[in-house]
Amino acid sequence: MITNIQRMCMNDGPGIRTTVFFKGCNLRCPWCSNPENIHFEAEKYYIEDGTSGVYGNDYSETELWEMLLKDEKYWKNGGGITFSGGEPLLQLGHYIKLLGRLKNKRIHIAVETAIHVPTTYVQEILPYIDLFIIDVKLMDLVECQRIICGNVNQYMKNIELLFSEKKEVWFRMPCNLEYTMSVVNREKIIELVKKYPPSYMEIFQTHSLGRKKYESLRLNCENYVEIEESTMIKWQQELQQYIPQVKWIKL
């Protein structure tokens, strides 16, 4: 199930990209900016002006193929397709044939994943994916389980696999004082990037970006404390000691 296919995405990998948002996620991050992609089923939404609609659509492989290739010409300088979500790795296994066809066309394929999934899911798609953009969230086993329902052991195992397979990996970290920016968590993240240095990392503040979507689903949207610029810059510099390029994305 897919909620959206967004063209001309500038922030989902190298170049200009078409991003596919799969519906459904196994994590429950309190700061999630795409709440419409948490559940696996189609969901009805309501907008304040009284209109309503449905999040989630099934696409046939032919439909998907056609839509994905509309912007092919714009991918000259390293662009391509990014599968995002939700957790795309939970569904991408169903699209192996499509991935193969894209691969044959030499289209650059990226996934944006939290990668808290069984390793077999990663292995299945591994040959088709050029770039893994991996979320770096909570690194403590207990905290991770308690707050976002994730499994750090599984996460580490998958990362190990990607690095041993010499896949290109980017990290991406949602920053908030309430959860991810705690001193302990940051220390653990430094440990991670020391051991598995990605070629590039992005950090960004979690805002209430998804507010409209939360409201449309009649869910509550949390507010996050604004992180001081100096804190973000310091964190960026700290990471830069181990990673060639760290970019602070201001949304």
Binding site: K70, Y74, K76
Partner: protein
């Protein structure tokens, strides 16, 4: 330099009222009885001579002498005036005024005599200037203008300004400046080689030139403040396909960026081989929100001009009218905005047909639509065929063809005398038709009668349907085959109805898909079946209301068929937030370069954030210099009428995904 003689209070009063320029005359008459538009006294030439004799020459400490005396503006309001064009400034750069005259034995008709008298009147004015001028350098410039060609870069610009001011003085509006980087290139290089100017000097000269042109902003503005039509054309390929952009091209863009003025404005001709650095420079300038340059795609436009019958050498020299309608500067007097076709009006006529009862399929509905298209275009052709252009020896002096043919521009002297119309509401109409197909014929959810009632009722009882129609995903601007096919069918049928037209000079009729009238034509206009309620603005040019639409709208625009006579300005219009460009600068340049290759016709951008616009609407005092793109021009946001502000805010919000 002539200064606006109104007090600050009066100026503010006028600005705040947001009233239109046309009312300026009324204002002049009531507050300054000395201001008036001079009526013709006797012949055109008598009046022109009088004006050259009487206008006040100010003392100026500026680099350039440039003045328009509002007490003696020629009254062109009767008959159809020439406007929206670019005079042939090369004639005054390459020749002295005396050299432009017919020799005694060549004065064989009335026109040649009138033509020579216009030159004499100009010489009279130049002599007055020479007598009065205290600045040595400028005195030399002006005295040389009578007998010789221009010798240098700055001198050429002074000559352009002089001729340009005379067109404004004579009541012409929307006067363009031409391909300045080309016209001035040799003189600039020569000056540089001989050590007369440095690159830095040249930039200062250009800066002063642009500021001088901007100085009568309030008087030059046409329908809205800012709509001056002072377009400068830059770049472009020659007949061998070589890119002609040069140092001056870059300098003009850089200076425009630094000045951050809404006017004059720049059109940059690009092609698939345009250097990345030039696109970057253009984007730097657009990024400031100044709305300029607009990009015109040589690879798409030139082949259309050639097919239409423009000579090869001329096609490669193309420029545009004040906004974006292609023409050949200095050779074409084409009124390119002589009327507009409203597609929603065609649709409205369909709803009024008795035969609607007999319509049982979408194909039949379209047949009825095309019959009404025929009728409405018939009316337009009828009314424009009655137009007679004003006798105009001054414009003839600066239009190629007139001298050789010994004919005035109003009698077919110019090389090209075609007419152009614009169209409005095509997006609303395409969407309405798609909705009728879907809801009346495919799903049979409504009958035609019911649709009629819903529209007559302005969606009062069907508010959800209205929103549903608005949020349809298959719509104008989407690169979907069905949408593209329907759009191309309609515009090709429009060609079929317009291609046979000939004006009294033998000129043809062309049309384009971008029009300034998206607000005015929509006022009080009944609801349309695309979810647009009564009175709401029509769609703007080739644009889309989707936030992710940049590649989509370019693909759509590139798939439209601009052949035959469908090239009278087809601009893709974007709203982009400044942050989006800032954060993705290189990728945005990539996008523009592929977009050129993909084949948009023309493209302009409004780089603004809704947040800023909303704040500016509330607190105008905090944003005195906020510039926005309106249609083919940019303006200070504060000076726009409320409804224009609202449309910009709405579009910015849609672009940022803030409305669903």
């Amino acid at each position: 330099m002539f200064a606006d003689c109104r007090t600050d209070v009066e100026k503010n009063e006028y600005k705040r009222s947001g009233e239109m320029k046309l009312e300026f005359d009324t204002w002049c008459k009531s507050t300054h009885p000395g201001f008036y538009r001079i009526q013709r006294v006797g012949s055109y030439n008598d009046t022109f001579e009088k004006i050259c004799e009487l206008i006040e020459i100010p003392e100026s400490q500026e680099r350039f002498l440039y003045f328009i005396d509002p007490r003696f503006l020629f009254d062109t309001t009767r008959g159809y005036r020439f406007e929206n064009l670019t005079p042939n400034y090369e004639r005054i750069i390459e020749y002295g005024l005396q050299e432009l005259k017919y020799p005694e034995k060549e004065q064989t008709n009335l026109f040649t005599k009138d033509y020579n008298r216009v030159v004499d009147s100009l010489i009279l004015l130049v002599n007055r200037i020479v007598l009065k001028e205290r600045m040595e350098r400028r005195r030399t410039f002006f005295s040389r203008m009578i007998t010789n060609q221009a010798e240098g870069f700055e001198e050429a610009l002074q000559r352009i300004l002089f001729i340009n001011q005379m067109f404004w003085q004579m009541g012409h509006r929307l006067i363009g400046l031409g391909r300045l980087d080309q016209i001035l290139w040799k003189l600039y290089q020569n000056d540089l080689k001989n050590g007369i100017i440095s690159i830095e000097d040249a930039k200062n000269v250009i800066r002063d030139f642009l500021q001088t042109l901007h100085s009568y902003y309030w008087l030059k503005s046409n329908v809205l403040m800012g709509d001056t039509g002072q377009i400068i054309l830059l770049g472009g390929i020659d007949a061998e396909g070589r890119d002609q952009s040069n140092e001056l091209t870059k300098m003009f863009i850089q200076v425009i960026e630094q000045l951050h003025l809404p006017d004059p404005k720049v059109l940059l001709r690009v092609n698939k081989n345009t250097e990345r650095t030039l696109i970057e420079l253009a984007l730097q300038c657009m990024k400031t929100g100044v709305g300029s340059p607009i990009l015109a795609n040589d690879d798409v436009i030139i082949p259309k001009l050639l097919k239409f019958g423009v000579k090869k050498d001329d096609a490669y020299q193309y420029g545009t009218s004040a906004c974006w309608e292609p023409l050949i500067p200095g050779k074409s007097i084409s009124p390119n905005n002589i009327a507009y076709l409203s597609y929603p009006k065609v649709m409205q006529a369909v709803w009024e047909q008795e035969e609607l009862k007999e319509v049982h399929s979408f194909e039949q509905f379209m047949q009825l639509f095309y019959i009404q298209l025929h009728n409405i275009i018939g009316g337009i052709k009828q009314s424009i065929s009655e137009i007679r252009l004003q006798y105009n020896p001054l414009l003839s002096l600066f239009t190629e063809g007139c001298f050789e043919r010994k004919k005035d521009v109003s009698a077919g002297g110019a090389i090209y005398s075609n007419y152009g119309i614009t169209t409005v509401g095509l997006s609303n109409t395409v969407n309405a038709l798609l909705n009728i197909k879907k809801h009346v014929y495919d799903t049979e959810r409504y009958s035609l009668k019911e649709v009629q009632n819903i529209l007559a009722d302005n969606y009062e009882k069907d508010i959800y349907l209205q929103k549903e129609l608005k949020s349809e995903t298959q719509k104008y601007g989407v690169d979907d085959m069905e949408v593209i096919t329907l759009t191309n069918d309609i515009i090709r049928k429009t060609t079929a109805e317009t291609l046979d037209f000939r004006n009294y000079l033998g000129g043809k009729l062309k049309f384009g898909l971008s029009a300034p009238s998206y607000i005015d034509a929509a006022k009080d206009f009944p609801a349309t079946f695309d979810g647009r309620k009564k009175g709401e603005a029509f769609g703007v040019h080739i644009s889309s209301a989707r936030s992710e639409g940049y590649t989509e709208i370019v693909n759509f625009a590139a798939a439209l068929d601009y052949n035959e006579n469908r090239f009278n300005g087809n601009v893709v219009d974007f709203m982009v937030s400044p942050r989006f460009i800032e954060q993705n600068y290189d990728k945005f340049v990539d996008f523009l370069m592929v977009a050129i290759e993909e084949g948009f016709f023309e493209l302009q951008m409004n780089v603004v954030s809704s947040e800023q616009l909303i704040d500016a609407r509330k607190n105008p005092d905090l944003y005195p210099n906020l510039v926005v793109r309106v249609w083919g021009f940019s303006a200070y946001f504060n000076e726009l009428p409320q409804e224009y502000k609202d449309v910009l805010i709405q579009r910015a919000m849609e672009n940022e995904g803030k409305t669903i």
